[in-house]
Symmetry: D2
Subunit: 434 residues, 4 copies
């Protein structure tokens, strides 16, 4: 966890006190269930809830001797509860507590991430409608292609993060399971109804079959999903970085008055937030690989996954939470320059309309190959003039073209509005009917 | 694609003829839609279906000149169809064909993989019920823990591959979309109804917003899902490899009469299929990373994803298909040795029952700490004797223990059946009620 | 292996005939050594060299029965050699042949890659000197910073690929080892002098300690090195892609006359080679992960690495060979536009000189903070004018600045040549003294 | 950074005070060089060394306003030094400080790692000589193969970590470079001799060509090297985990008296340290991928690498330092059970000697195929008897065998010492001549 890339609510989830509190609740709910089943005295359960407490520093102290965290925790709780604490953890194994706790932490972390995504989606939607019909050049291969609107760019981002949200909901269901099934998952010393009770109380579903541990394919799928979401962040960040290039400059990250872009070059206004997001995406993506290597535990379990999860549990969720929030800020405050978009659109001498002319020639009876050749030879002259020649004029002057199309027919192919007639259709698909 | 790790049906999907056939169908269906909309003559569509043909070698020849695969394909089709071919591809862009084709290929590949999973699940289920109550030692950390049944091991595998199946269904929905939206996704020169028609005919849904290309977060999620499934294969393969170790030998891969395990050591029977599956899992996993790096295309698209997909599209699906089928064979024919399982269970002098004694002592009023110490000191003597001492006898001889538990009460804690009383419950959860 | 991303020499290395030829040489050289040591008859060795032959199809046939490739090979060789073949492979194990063969293949593949790198370095060097003093804007964060020369960009690439070359030489030494040490590496049935003889004949060094197999940390290091080299290809490819953007257009990939950039847009000239290289880099990078997972083989060896190497051995080397050759072509034929570089340099109204003014003000006694503020406020006006205002003029008109610097002193800070005075120094460092 | 997997010396390297101290030294040495060149007053340099100081908390405060860390640092230093501070950082850019600082930190981190490796090598060597001739079964595929010695296993580990050491020395040279070259690496405003002076003082070499930043292929190679070393740790950890399995139990991690293996099962002694190392290896390996993605910075630089390095710089080095130290402890205190090794060796009824018999039969004139068949049919009977039948006796009773070999000749093939005659040779290769 890197403090500068962390926000308090998500970070708090992963602090020792949060973990121990969840452990306590799991143990106490399990005791309730056992008391209801007549396995332990009802008084014991009441006593644990009444006097149950723990202290992270004291637990560390005990663990230094026992080298076992759950035993250290139970010992410390017993110091507060007294004799009734001996009923705690009966028939359970450490992983029952640890794995169910991780499920609770990841589920809660996911709730924060879902909220982050909702805010990002809202910001994208607002800006998308604001620029629904702002013309800008569409680019393939970084080369001018045909006109789009800036709203369409954002509609694509909205659709992509909507998919991210749906994936995250599915990923949450993957990991939100509870296992209280004993040393090798057979419920040898614990009633399956204890598991059902704890699951209900902690907001989880029951793990159908556990083997001391909850199977790690669930977590692999979870972290893989975060990695894909991070990749979508990288895509939008890359778009902003491109738009802010000096030569393009169609949009800029908001630049606060006191901010300095460079210690050496006072004029610089750099897309540092989206560059940073690009790096953070690399990190979240990197955490998927060890999560996948964690799946093949030996026999009923080994503990190789544990150290991995101590890193990636917090690091992946804290980093993604920060990244989503930062991306929301970038979108929300993005400086958008429609004039510059129009200027860039205009600079290629009308080349972006070449396909429409190609189609008109085909429809006027020219073979596709001939039409392609006719348009390309004129387009190449415009290209080589760096936009100083006008494609429309060259086409009018081209005998092969003017034999098929009148000047008016050529002019009609250079209408920008023509390209935007289906923007409403796309917006309806993405945002729902108005 | 490595021939020895490939099966014909999946491989055929990725051969040039399959691809060109799908291209042809996409183009011809699009032409139908345009004819229905009155944009092109109905005769043209009929002519294309009637005379449409292509030849992979001729396409290669043309591509060597044009350096553009879709143009080469269209040129070759025109050689067969004649003049009416000029109506093909109107208002479309290459990616409309390429990306929709990839969607069809991946969807069909997924159908094969789903069938593979069904066969694997069936094999696991059959063996699970066969060994539902076959006792075997459960192991955590590779160390004997408490008894389980071999059926429970397989029930866990069944549950894991059931999740794999559900994930694969979701992943199929991610990638089964159709985009026929033109050069930058605006439908400038093509009616959105063409896209809807092609989608319906090709068994896809409509991509809500494309930007010449179908967004690659979909494919990243798809390949990440395959990677997680491969990790589950690795888990089951690792289990078999462990069981076949000389010292464990509770199960073995089927060994055919003519097979030689080693050129030097005639007695060897090695778990080579599951070792091979372990390696194949590494490969399928590796393909997730480049798929994720493909997401952040520049602006409306660049073509960096294309070369990646030429590798991982076939390699990931062909390898996973082969791996699932091989795993099904391994499970189906696995030699399972219940006697050896029982022998291994017995060899630790009853240590596997230590927890039950611990609980009995606690319930008899001893503090958890004292009970733990009493059991541990005797367990350690058994452990150090390499299973020659009997835990039951040592406990009967221990004054602290016998003060709390009678010999009969101690003996009762060594009943194996005690551990299996919830096997039915777990089987019902995993396989559904009998 | 994807045929379109493969070149013949490298591909041939990985074909069955190449592999079997190397196997044959290893076995025959081993037999020579044994004959020299008096272990087998000299006639036998002579007979093997004289009549030794093999046929890939026949080997496949035999392997279908034995399920063991080396035994199949030896059986086939024996069919040609006759009775003397029984002396072959004595005391050896399959891995002695397989691993030593892989070492030979990887060493030869590396020789091709080194040659590729030499050609790439030569192309970069030629273009670097050609444009040693061609001014172009240096960019950080995609934003104009200060002037550099195009030669300096290429000098950096030269230095980076020189490091790549040195790493590849080291990686070659890692994997070029020979192990002929028997079933578990003890030389129980074979004399270590056989290993030394084969190593010398095959151009390898002796593996100090093998365990039936050559340890896979060597191969992990090898493929990791290829992955880093691929990342450097991605860097240079990304540079070209940026330079070819419509708005930048300072360089372009060579565009052959018959080439079509887009089936829809005839004017397009896309950086498809470098986009392709970006994708290929992702693939070569992906192969490092499974190579690293191959290291932790079980005990003296398992065979999980083998399937991985069947993929990545050919795929990583063939792809990197192709990518290096393609990159050499891109650099060699790159269209470079110095006029456009100058135009881009000029467009920001002199902002690139801001730091020099800042320094001059500091040296004239202004505090760093005040100087930074004075320059930044004028720079911001130029920035917001989109390069229409001139920084030089604004500074002359700024009272705080003109109080410290005369007009001549300000003008002197806008000299482009000032930035290039150390280009020779850097070229000497990179290419050696002239 | 996870505190439980971190050691103080390495952690301290990455704390803010260490970083700021290195920044200060770089700036002050640069000022010395400028003073020596007569560019700034000698008094200024003296004043900076005399009064130079900084305070991490104050720097954070200033950075909150300026959003630029190096400017915040310089501002704070100026608060201590006074007016002379204005000469600091002249002609330099932030990356000159940041990248050179990272080089110093990574170089120092590497020195710690090299020391860790030396201690690990020493521990392995001591145990290797201790068990140079301790017989144990060699296993391929987890199946008994032929005898080795425990010392040979450790000799292989020694050779592998010796390679790790050599790689780390090379990786250190990769990243130990100094760049003080200004905004785009042209030395426009700073003399190259300043760079040379700082490099010498900080123990670095000069970066031949930088572009504001030190090229990131260097760091990619560095972190890839750590990843390969981590994979070797995983290999040795996996060996220990296998040896400690209940059924094998040839070695165990040291188990301290107070330690509890399981909260539920008092008898458990689990290989938790090596399982933990397996997980840590996954993490160190994961950090290589983002380091490789960092290479392709845009143009002269972007800042996407920075966030990645804030994670992986500390996390990879701290984790590997901890892992190497933990592995040293495991090796140093490993409980090794020669009796159990012998018992395991004996349990397969002499099957491990099958190859020697095969060779003897071949040398006695039987064809390889017949000899293989003769040995295999007897070996299979032993195998199926679970070691209760004796291979030696069966062979004596086999007519085909006894026709070729006398009982004495058969017996001679079952001599264990035969396998160890070249142990000295291998030890000499690995550890040098005695």
């Amino acid at each position: 966890m890197i403090p500068r890339y962390a926000r308090p609510a998500m970070t708090a989830l992963w602090e020792p006190d949060s973990r121990f509190r969840i452990w306590f609740e799991i143990e106490a709910h399990a005791l309730d269930a056992m008391a209801n089943l007549g396995i332990v005295p009802k008084d014991a359960a009441a006593a644990v809830w009444a006097r149950g407490a723990f202290d992270a520093a004291r637990i560390d102290e005990i663990e230094a001797v026992t080298k076992h965290d759950v035993i250290a925790f139970l010992t410390n709780v017993a110091e507060h509860v007294g004799d009734e604490a001996r009923f705690l953890h009966q028939g359970m194994t450490s992983s029952d507590v640890l794995d169910t706790c991780l499920a609770v932490q990841l589920a809660r972390a996911t709730d924060i991430l879902l909220d982050d995504l909702d805010q990002l989606l809202a910001a994208i939607k607002r800006r998308a409608f604001e620029h629904k019909l702002t013309p800008t050049i569409g680019r393939s291969h970084g080369i001018h292609a045909e006109p789009v609107t800036f709203g369409l760019k954002l509609a694509q981002a909205y659709a992509e993060f909507s998919r991210a949200r749906a994936r995250l909901v599915a990923a949450r269901a993957e990991i939100a399971t509870c296992a209280i099934s004993g040393a090798v998952g057979t419920f040898a010393n614990i009633d399956p109804r204890v598991e059902a009770h704890v699951a209900a109380k902690m907001g989880l579903t029951v793990e159908p079959v556990s083997t001391q541990v909850i199977p790690r394919d669930r977590h692999a799928m979870y972290f893989a999903t975060l990695a894909v979401i991070a990749s979508s962040i990288e895509r939008l960040a890359t778009e902003v970085r491109h738009l802010q290039r000096t030569e393009v400059l169609e949009a800029e990250e908001y630049f606060s008055p006191g901010q300095k872009g460079s210690s050496a070059m006072p004029h610089k206004r750099n897309p540092v937030l989206t560059e940073n997001l690009t790096g953070l995406a690399r990190m979240v993506r990197a955490y998927a690989a060890p999560a996948m290597e964690n799946v093949a535990l030996w026999h009923e379990r080994d503990i190789s996954h544990s150290s991995v999860e101590r890193y990636i549990g917090p690091d992946a969720t804290i980093t993604l939470d920060f990244a989503l929030a930062r991306m929301t800020g970038v979108v929300d405050k993005l400086l958008i320059y429609p004039d510059r978009m129009q200027a860039n659109l205009d600079r290629m001498g009308g080349l972006v309309h070449s396909q429409r002319v190609l189609l008109a020639l085909t429809q006027a009876g020219m073979s596709r190959e001939d039409a392609y050749a006719a348009v390309q030879r004129n387009a190449m002259r415009v290209w080589e003039s760096d936009g100083r020649l006008s494609l429309m004029q060259l086409l009018k002057d081209d005998a092969d073209v003017s034999a098929r199309l009148s000047d008016a027919e050529i002019e009609e192919r250079f209408d920008l509005g023509y390209h935007f007639k289906h923007v409403d259709t796309i917006f309806d698909r993405v945002f729902g009917p108005a």
